[in-house]
């Protein structure tokens, strides 16, 4: 080492002492509990390691970087949540997507083989929905250059019906969500597509000195696709299901973008579901349902296309929930390490304003490139908290270049967790949560559900080329809770995606919106969860069903999982 280098290193050491820690360097942090989550992956029996195939240092294949998602759902209707994990090893890989069934003892067993879901490919995301209204949840897998639909046979197996169902999407599909946009009782499908990627293109950081993954701005965006479910009647056999590609007819094909996240909910209060798409480094798009089969893009007009500075950001995952208890849902979108995760609060109805700074997301313990996001009440104090999984998309500025044996290290980051004070202001509690936030990895998918039936929402996270992990909720002094499943017997007893549910205890009201498709490439437990604080019972439950009908259900004691059937309440 020459004298110049020594001097630089000396100065670096001096400077290092005065600089605050950066997520990019993944410097050690002092964690102190008690944590809200513990890692139970090993004892749960979940032995899934994400595959990206052979990494070649001369070939930074972007689909590897986006990772793959996870679904938490009860595929066999036995009352225990199961887990489906997506692989990204490519069509020649031996590593298949894997389905884990949860037994009565809480352990997960790999039941992939012969399930029909044990497929290979450059798998990206997963969406869950009962598309043929038979009461059994079906599975949609998104891939680099494709989507695949699997119908649940009701006996632990699935059959692929992609082509027969009329589904075709040769684009780079990422997140997907089921939504009954025309309110005909059949779940339609929205699929976000990323960029028109050229796999032969080589990109680098700093003038060819260090190869790296390409920036999405190197490629044109692609359209988000919408498929209308024609129901069983549309299928030739009258038993299966048939979709029609209405991307252009509905208007979604008019504006392309590099879509990564999607969430469907009623954004303008007309009781018809709208579609929000998070675009990477481009404005978000909010497709407002015109109630005639078409949509109109209104993200900029409603304040959710850009951040408070009018800038486009690296929009990735989406979380939806009412963070300040005003009865209107708010939106959190995860962003790059150089940006902040942005919180758009709704108010008045249909309008959003970037309240990131007020919410406390500017001065966090560390920053990260966020992907998966869950907004739920982890400690049951009545306010929605936030968990975010992070992982860079370009090598850290402070890292050593990637090498064959440590390829993903320069992309690794730690996760974050935030506690809500009930007014929509968040405290960064990452340092109290070493199990969830302490391990740097290239985290991507995140989904939640009450895996162990104790009322607390647990988390499942995925990482590029790393193990998927289960985190059980052990938040101390948790309050009371209620877990509600909404089903419509007239639709085969399937979950009522698109319903709004309000729980009231005394003068306190909590509102939730039913759709498991949010976060990033992932699908959550379809039940809605309420933290009730000190309330030991709720006085009434109001449901606004997807078709616009309202029902009221009687109050009941807290701390139980209940099922509400459409038609069994009071109008």
């Amino acid at each position: 080492m020459n004298g110049f280098a020594v001097k630089l290193l000396f100065i670096a050491a001096v400077c290092g002492g005065c600089c605050r820690q950066s997520a990019a360097t993944v410097t050690p942090a002092k964690f102190s509990g008690p944590p809200w989550f513990v890692d139970v992956t090993r004892e749960s029996g979940l032995d899934f390691v994400h595959e990206v195939g052979t990494v070649r240092l001369d070939h930074y294949f972007m689909p590897h970087l986006l990772g793959s998602g996870v679904a938490v759902f009860d595929f066999d209707n036995d009352g225990k949540l199961d887990i489906y994990l997506v692989q990204n090893g490519g069509p020649k890989s031996q590593a298949t997507n894997r389905l884990f069934r949860q037994g009565r003892d809480g352990r997960f067993t790999d039941v992939s083989k012969g399930s029909g879901l044990d497929i290979v490919g450059h798998g990206m995301g997963v969406a869950i929905g009962d598309v043929n209204n038979d009461g059994w949840p079906d599975v949609l897998v998104t891939e680099y250059c494709g989507i695949r639909l699997f119908l649940n046979n009701g006996n632990g197996t699935f059959r692929e019906v992609t082509a027969a169902a009329g589904l075709e999407n040769p684009l780079w599909a990422t997140s997907a969500s089921f939504v009954d946009y025309d309110r005909d009782g059949w779940l339609d499908l929205v699929v976000t597509n990323y960029v028109d990627y050229d796999p032969t293109r080589k990109c680098s950081r700093s003038e060819g000195n260090r190869p790296d993954f390409c920036n999405p701005n190197n490629f044109a965006g692609t359209v988000t696709r919408l498929y209308r479910n024609l129901g069983r009647a549309g299928a030739s056999d009258g038993k299966s299901v048939r979709f029609e590609d209405v991307t252009l007819k509905a208007g979604l094909g008019l504006v392309a973008g590099p879509g990564l996240g999607v969430v469907c909910a009623d954004f303008d209060g007309d009781h018809w579901p709208d579609i929000l798409v998070a675009n990477d480094a481009q404005p978000n798009r909010l497709w407002i349902n015109q109630r005639d089969g078409t949509f109109k893009e209104e993200a900029a007009l409603r304040g959710i296309a850009y951040n408070a500075l009018g800038q486009m950001q690296g929009n990735m995952g989406i979380g939806l929930g009412d963070v300040n208890g005003d009865g209107l849902f708010d939106i959190l979108v995860t962003h790059l390490s150089e940006e902040t995760h942005s919180l758009w609060q709704q108010g008045p109805r249909g309008f959003f304003q970037d309240r990131t700074a007020r919410a406390g997301f500017v001065n966090t313990q560390w920053r990260g490139t966020g992907f998966g996001i869950v907004m739920e009440d982890f400690d049951h104090d009545g306010a929605l908290d936030i968990a975010v999984v992070n992982g860079r998309v370009s090598q850290s500025l402070n890292s050593e270049p990637a090498s064959a044996d440590s390829f993903w290290v320069p992309y690794a980051e730690r996760n974050q967790m935030f506690a809500n004070d009930g007014m929509g202001r968040f405290q960064d509690i990452s340092l109290k949560n070493e199990p969830f936030c302490g391990t740097a990895a290239v985290w991507r998918g995140l989904a939640c559900g009450d895996l162990n039936d104790d009322g607390g929402l647990d988390l499942v996270a995925t990482a590029v080329a790393g193990p998927a992990r289960i985190f059980h909720n052990v938040a101390p002094q948790r309050g009371n809770w209620l877990l509600v499943r909404l089903i419509d017997p007239a639709l085969g007893g399937r979950d009522a995606y698109g319903a709004e549910i309000t729980v009231q205890a005394d003068s306190k009201r909590w509102k939730r919106w039913l759709n498991p498709g949010s976060s990033y490439l992932s699908s959550n437990d379809a039940r809605t969860h309420f933290g009730l604080g000190s309330f030991e019972r709720v006085d009434r439950i109001e449901v606004l069903w997807p078709d616009g009908k309202e029902e009221v259900f009687a109050g009941r004691f807290a701390n139980q999982a209940i099922v509400l059937r459409k038609g069994s309440g009071r109008n």
Binding site: G3, F4, A5, K7, L8, L9, I11, A12, C15, C19, R20, S22, A24, C145, E168, P170, L171, D196, D198, P199, T200, R201, R205, S206, E207, G208, N209, T222, V223, R225, D245, T247, L248, K249, G251, G253, L254, A256, P283, A300, L301, R302, G303, A305, Y306, A308, L309, G310, Q311, E338, T340, F351, T356, A357, R358, V362, N363, L397, N398, P401
Partner: protein, 402 residues
């Protein structure tokens, strides 16, 4: 330490020169600041930060180094970035950029009143500064004062009409004020402005001028071309071809410059690029275009087919291949390719129209009508598609019902 193995020779040379200057004058703030700036220009941010910090120590009164250093701190640690920018703004008194950046950082941190003070301080000595007006417009927006926000934003737009961010905020504020018409006008302007304009910033511009290497020079040439300054761009790229004949990106860039004016020479450049990197999709498709322009449709189709092998779902390539096959008289083949094109790229209006025309020739009126409808959904003003669709409908009405 920056490793210059495999680095662009120009870049290596520039860094080495700046390093030598520091070695020769280790107490020179200017030498350290210049080295830091060279590193920053080429995204060696850690090294840049170290050198700029040393320059600040050696000359605490020079605002340049404080500002460039503060920009880095803002990225890695926004909390510390604000005081760093504050110091830089004081040192750079009279130059707006650091104080404007400070105002924006304060705004992002939710410190709206302090941000407004910063923007007003700039307006005190530069009353027409559009970036300061935009900042004040955003600050008023954050306070929910829509009328005041509009007033500032309009002043900003009047002085800098090409800034997308200003139009975006204006559109939303108008909508909130219930003026849907004005909101739509602003939305139209958002769509017209391709990207956010770069605000004047002498310090960052000085860093930008230090950029070297192939990518930087190609970017510069591209910028000249966009500004209609082809006469300046062409010699720049020609010099690159001479100095870096081993870089396929250079041949592709040169070929693109020549494509319309000299397709034969463009073809040669693209072939050279392919010889250097046979798996380059862009070289393959550009070569196909050069051949197409010369009327060599068979060869062009072969090139497009090779491009399809590299990327089977490329809608644009399938579209071009379809058109080549049509020229070669292979109507069925053309229809097949155009069908794939619209599946891969459903928003490619012209592919829908081209497919519809071929389908009509083949008697496939129903499918043609669907594609014409799609073309009109994407481009409602497409009169050709509208006329053809009307013709098809009239034919259908006239046809005897069975």
């Amino acid at each position: 330490m920056v490793t210059l193995v495999n680095a662009d020779p120009n870049l290596a040379q520039v860094i080495e020169q700046a390093r030598t200057a520091v070695k020769n004058s280790p107490s020179s703030a200017k030498a350290w600041g210049h080295l830091g700036s060279v590193f920053q220009a080429h995204a060696f941010m850690t090294e840049a930060q170290v050198c700029l910090a040393q320059a600040m120590r050696l000359d605490p009164e020079d605002g340049r180094w404080a500002y460039l250093h503060a920009l880095y701190v803002c990225q890695t640690d926004p909390e510390q970035g604000i005081p760093a920018l504050g110091r830089a703004a004081q040192l750079c008194d009279g130059i707006a950029a650091p104080r404007l950046k400070l105002g924006e950082a304060l705004l992002e941190a939710g410190r709206v009143e302090e941000a407004e003070m910063s923007f007003r301080a700039v307006l005190a000595y530069d009353p027409n500064n559009p970036r300061a007006e935009l900042g004040l417009g955003r600050a008023a927006y954050a306070r929910g004062d829509w009328q005041e926000s509009v007033a500032h934003l309009r002043r900003s737009v009047a002085r800098a009409p090409g800034v997308r961010a200003t139009h975006a905020v204006l559109a939303e504020v108008y909508q909130r004020l219930g003026d849907a018409k004005a909101a739509q006008v602003e939305l139209g302007r958002v769509a017209e402005t391709s990207d956010n304009a770069l605000w004047p910033d002498p310090y960052q511009e000085a860093v930008g001028r230090l950029k070297t290497g192939i990518e930087a020079r190609l970017e510069h040439a591209q910028m000249l071309l966009q500004q209609g300054r082809a006469a300046e761009a062409i010699p720049l790229v020609e010099e690159l071809v001479r100095s870096r004949p081993d870089a396929d990106a250079v041949h592709i860039a040169y070929g693109r410059l020549l494509l319309k004016i000299a397709p034969v020479r463009a073809e040669a450049e693209f072939r050279q690029a392919l010889a250097l990197r046979p798996t380059s999709l862009s070289a393959q498709t550009e070569l196909a275009q050069a051949l197409e322009l010369q009327g060599k449709y068979r060869e062009a189709a072969d090139c497009y087919r090779q491009a399809v092998d590299l990327k089977p779902q490329d809608g644009t390539v399938h579209h071009r291949l379809g058109l080549c096959l049509q020229r070669l008289g292979d109507k069925e083949g053309a229809i097949g390719e155009l069908r794939i094109a619209v599946k891969c790229k459903p928003d490619l209006t012209v592919a829908h129209s081209n497919l519809a025309e071929l389908l009509v020739e083949n008697g496939g009126f129903d499918e043609a009508a669907q594609h014409l409808q799609d073309a009109l959904r994407l481009a409602p003003a497409d009169d050709t598609a509208r006329r053809l669709l009307t013709q098809i409908r009239e034919q259908a009405t006239r046809a005897p019902k069975r």
